[in-house]
Amino acid sequence: MTRIGLTRRHFLALLGAAVVPLVPGLMPALATHVWPAREGLAARLVALLTHTTSAAAVGRAYLAQSPHEARADRLVAAITSGWTGTAPGAAWQSASKPELLELVRMKIVDDFAREEVAILDGWIVSRTEARLCGLVLLATEGARSV
C-alpha cells in the first residue's frame, strides 16, 4: 500500500499559494518540463478531463506531495503500469477515447482495491486520478512555464 498524507493546514497553505512557482519542489520540475507531442498518450489522457481548472487544482496538491513525479513521462508510465488488470501497455497506446476512459476507470478501481491512494486535503483519491490531474497541471501551468 502506498499512501501520501497532507495535513489540512498544509493544504490550506497550499491553496493560498496563487501561482505554481510558490509550491516547494514543484517549480523546478515545471520550469524544465517540456510537454510531449499533442497526439501522444499524455495529451489523450489529459483530454479525458474537461474541468481543467479543477483538475489542475487537484494535480497541484498531488504533485506538491510527489514532486519527483512532476514529469509527464513519469506520470504516464505510472498511470499505465503497476496494476493487476490484464491490459498491456500497448492497449493504452492504441485505445480510442472511450476505451482509454474505460481503462482509466478500471485502473482507478484497481488502485482503490490495492489502496494505491493519496490523501489530499483529507480526501482519499486514487493515485491514477491524482496523476491524471497532475498531467493536466503540467499541460497547462507547466506548458506556460517553458
Binding site: R3, G5, T7, R8, F11, L15, L48, L49, T50, H51, T53, S54, A55, A57, V58, A61, L101, V104, R105, I108, V109, D111, F112, A113, E115, V117, I119, L120, D121, G122, W123, I124, V125, S126, E129, L132, C133
Partner: protein, 565 residues
C-alpha cells in the same frame, strides 16, 4: 414488596439472603431473574420512582481528563437507573471482543461469546427487542433496504436493533413488587460496604437516607450494580477496613475506565444521490427498527492490529434549515441563504467532484444547480412507516428539507453528504480512571472523579479504519470519503463524546492481579461480593453495553441461584 427507606427506623439492622445495590438494568435483571424463588432479595435503590434532584446531585463529580459529559447527568439515579435515558440500541459483543488480542494490551475476557449465548434470548425479552438475530444475511431477507455492497474481506455492515421508544426504560417495578421474595427499597443510599476484619467476607452494607436515617443490611451475598462510575466510587470509599478500599488489593478498582468515543471523523460524498443509504440509518425492517453500522472485518483488524472502530452514518441532506434558523445572525434575512450554502463542498472538494465526475459513469456527483426532489422519497417512506407521534417528530426535518429544496431551486442543489461518526471500542488504559475526588456529597462521601484518557492506538485505529473504508467506497464507485479527523494531531475532536457507556472500572479477569472480579463476577478475595454491569467489561466491546450486561446479569443470577440455594 415495596419499601420506602424513610420509614426504616434509624439504626435498624436488616437481614436478607441477597442484597442488590442499585436498581438499574443490571440490578433489576438479577432481582427479576430470581423473583419467585425462595431466596430473599432486598433491592436497594437510591432514588425514588422518578427524577429527584437532591438524589441526582449525589452523582455530581469532577472530570479532569478528556472532556466528558457532566458526571451528574451522564447516568440517572432513580428506579430504572440509566435505562431511563437509554437510546435502546442493542447489539451483542462478537466472539473477537472476548479474545486476548496481542496488539491490544490488557485485552481478553475470562469468558467467551458462548458463555453469554444462552442468556441472550431472555435478555432480548427484558430489553424489548423481538429477535436475537443480528446476522446481516438474515436481516437482508427482512428488509427492503440494502446495505452498501462491501467486499466482506474489506468492510462489513453490522446490524444494531433499536428498542421502540415505548418499550424502553426497564421498569419492571410491578413484577418485583408482586414477587413474594423481593423487597424493593427506594430512597436507600449505599454508603459503605463493610467486610470482616480479614477482608474476606462482606458483612453488611451501610445505608442512609437524605433525611438523615442510617441503617445496615446484612446478607449472605451482595451484588453491586450501581454503574461503571459509582461501582468504583463505592468500593474505593469503603475504606474502613482497608485504606485502598474493598476489592482493591492490586490497585485496579477505578482503572481502565472505557467508553465508546464518538465524533465526526469523515464526510462521505456519494457519487450519485440515488445510491441507497437507508440501511445505514435507523429504519424499520419487518417489525423491528434497525441500523447498519460500518466496520472492518475482524481478520483485517487482526492483520492491521487495530481496535474495533464502527462507523455510524449521520444524515446530511444538504443544508440544514434548522441550523440556518438557529444561527445567531438569523435576524438578518440574508443570513439564511448564506447559512444554507454551508452544506456545499469546500473549494477543493468541488474541484475533486468535477474530476470524479469527468471520469465516472455517474453524473450527479458534479451537478451544481440540479433540483432536489421534493420531498425526498426516503423521507416519505420514513413518514409512512412511523406511528403518529413519530411522524410529528419528522415534521421539522421535512420542513428543513423543503426549505433546502426551495433554496436549491433558487441557488442550486447542495451536495448530499453523510457524516461518518466513530464508535471506538477504546483500548484498555489503566491511566483512564475513576478515583475519589476532594469534594464531598450530602452524605459526606467523597465524590467521584473521572480522568478519561485515550491512547495512540485508538487514534491510529480510527485513521486506518477510515482509510480502508474510504478506499472500498472508491473501489465500488460509491463516492469519495474526506477524512476530517486530524489523526496526526494530539488533540481529540471538539465534538467527541461518549455513549454514556461506562465500562472497565471493576474489570473481569481470572487473575486477581489483572482484574477486580472473576469470571463469575465475584470480587477476587471476597467470597460473597459480586458486581453486575458494564464495569466488569475488560474491554468496552463492539456491542451495546445494555444488552450485553443484561445477559451477563442473567448469567450472574444463575450462578447466585445455585450458590444461595
Amino acid at each position: 414488596m415495596l419499601l420506602d427507606a424513610r420509614t426504616i427506623p434509624d439504626g435498624a439492622q436488616l437481614e436478607t439472603d441477597l442484597c442488590i445495590i442499585g436498581g438499574g438494568p443490571a440490578g433489576i435483571t438479577v432481582a427479576h431473574a430470581l423473583a419467585g424463588r425462595s431466596t430473599r432479595i432486598l433491592l436497594l435503590e437510591s432514588g425514588p420512582d422518578e427524577y429527584d434532584d437532591p438524589t441526582q446531585s449525589l452523582y455530581d463529580g469532577e472530570s479532569v481528563g478528556l472532556p466528558y459529559y457532566s458526571l451528574k447527568f451522564s447516568r440517572l439515579r432513580f428506579f430504572g437507573g440509566s435505562a431511563n435515558h437509554w437510546g435502546g440500541y442493542c447489539m451483542p459483543h462478537q466472539a473477537a471482543d472476548f479474545e486476548a488480542r496481542t496488539w491490544i494490551p490488557h485485552s481478553g475476557w475470562p469468558i467467551g461469546e458462548m458463555d453469554l449465548a444462552p442468556y441472550y434470548p431472555r435478555a432480548a425479552e427484558l430489553v424489548g427487542i423481538d429477535t436475537t438475530r443480528f446476522d446481516l444475511d438474515w436481516w437482508i431477507t427482512q428488509d427492503q433496504d440494502r446495505p452498501l455492497p462491501f467486499d466482506a474481506a474489506r468492510a462489513v455492515t453490522r446490524v444494531v436493533q433499536i428498542v421502540r421508544q415505548n418499550r424502553r426504560g426497564f421498569r419492571f417495578r410491578d413484577d418485583l413488587q408482586d414477587a413474594s421474595n423481593v423487597t424493593l427499597c427506594l430512597r436507600a443510599n449505599a454508603l459503605e460496604i463493610v467486610t470482616d476484619d480479614q477482608g474476606r467476607t462482606t458483612r453488611e452494607v451501610r445505608v442512609g437516607t437524605l433525611e438523615g436515617a442510617r441503617f445496615s443490611v446484612a446478607a449472605r451475598a451482595f451484588v453491586l450494580a450501581t454503574g461503571g462510575i459509582e461501582n468504583a466510587r463505592l468500593l474505593l470509599a469503603s475504606n474502613g477496613q482497608n485504606p485502598a478500599g474493598v476489592g482493591n488489593d492490586h490497585d485496579l478498582v477505578g482503572r481502565f475506565f472505557g467508553e465508546h468515543p464518538r465524533f465526526g471523523a469523515a464526510t462521505f460524498v456519494p457519487t450519485d444521490r440515488a445510491i441507497p443509504l437507508g440501511f445505514h440509518f435507523p429504519h424499520r425492517a419487518s417489525l423491528s427498527t434497525i441500523e447498519g453500522y460500518i466496520g472492518l472485518p475482524r481478520e483485517l483488524q487482526r492483520r492491521e492490529e487495530l481496535v474495533d472502530v464502527q462507523i455510524l452514518m449521520q444524515r446530511e441532506l444538504g443544508p440544514s434549515f434548522d441550523d440556518a434558523v438557529d444561527a445567531p445572525v438569523v435576524r438578518d434575512a440574508l443570513a439564511l441563504p448564506r447559512n444554507l450554502t454551508q452544506g456545499r463542498l469546500d473549494e477543493f472538494g468541488s474541484h475533486l467532484a468535477n474530476v470524479v465526475g469527468d471520469l465516472s459513469t455517474f453524473q450527479q456527483f458534479t451537478v451544481p444547480g440540479a433540483p432536489l426532489p421534493i420531498p425526498y422519497p426516503e423521507l416519505v417512506g420514513e413518514v409512512l412507516n412511523r406511528n403518529t407521534a413519530d411522524r410529528l417528530e419528522l415534521i421539522p426535518a421535512i420542513f428543513g428539507d423543503l426549505a433546502g429544496a426551495a433554496y436549491a431551486q433558487l441557488y442550486g442543489a447542495p451536495i448530499t453528504t453523510a457524516i461518518f461518526r466513530t464508535r471506538i471500542d477504546q483500548a484498555p488504559n489503566p491511566e483512564s480512571r475513576v478515583a475519589l475526588g476532594t469534594e464531598r456529597d450530602a452524605f459526606g462521601m467523597l465524590r467521584g472523579q473521572l480522568d478519561w484518557q485515550l491512547t495512540d492506538l485508538d487514534r491510529y485505529s480510527v485513521r486506518r479504519t477510515l482509510e480502508i473504508i474510504g478506499a472500498e467506497i472508491g473501489r465500488l464507485g460509491l463516492g469519495r470519503l474526506q477524512i476530517t479527523f486530524d489523526a496526526d494531531g494530539q488533540a481529540w475532536p471538539e465534538d467527541m463524546s461518549g455513549g454514556y457507556h461506562h465500562a472497565g472500572t471493576t474489570r473481569m479477569s481470572a487473575d486477581p492481579r489483572r482484574g477486580v472480579v472473576d469470571g463469575n463476577c465475584r470480587v477476587h478475595g471476597l467470597d460473597n461480593l459480586y458486581i453486575a454491569g458494564s464495569s466488569v467489561f475488560p474491554t468496552v466491546g463492539s456491542g451495546n453495553p445494555t444488552y450485553v450486561l443484561v445477559a451477563l446479569a442473567l448469567r450472574l443470577a444463575d450462578h447466585l441461584g445455585t450458590v444461595l440455594s
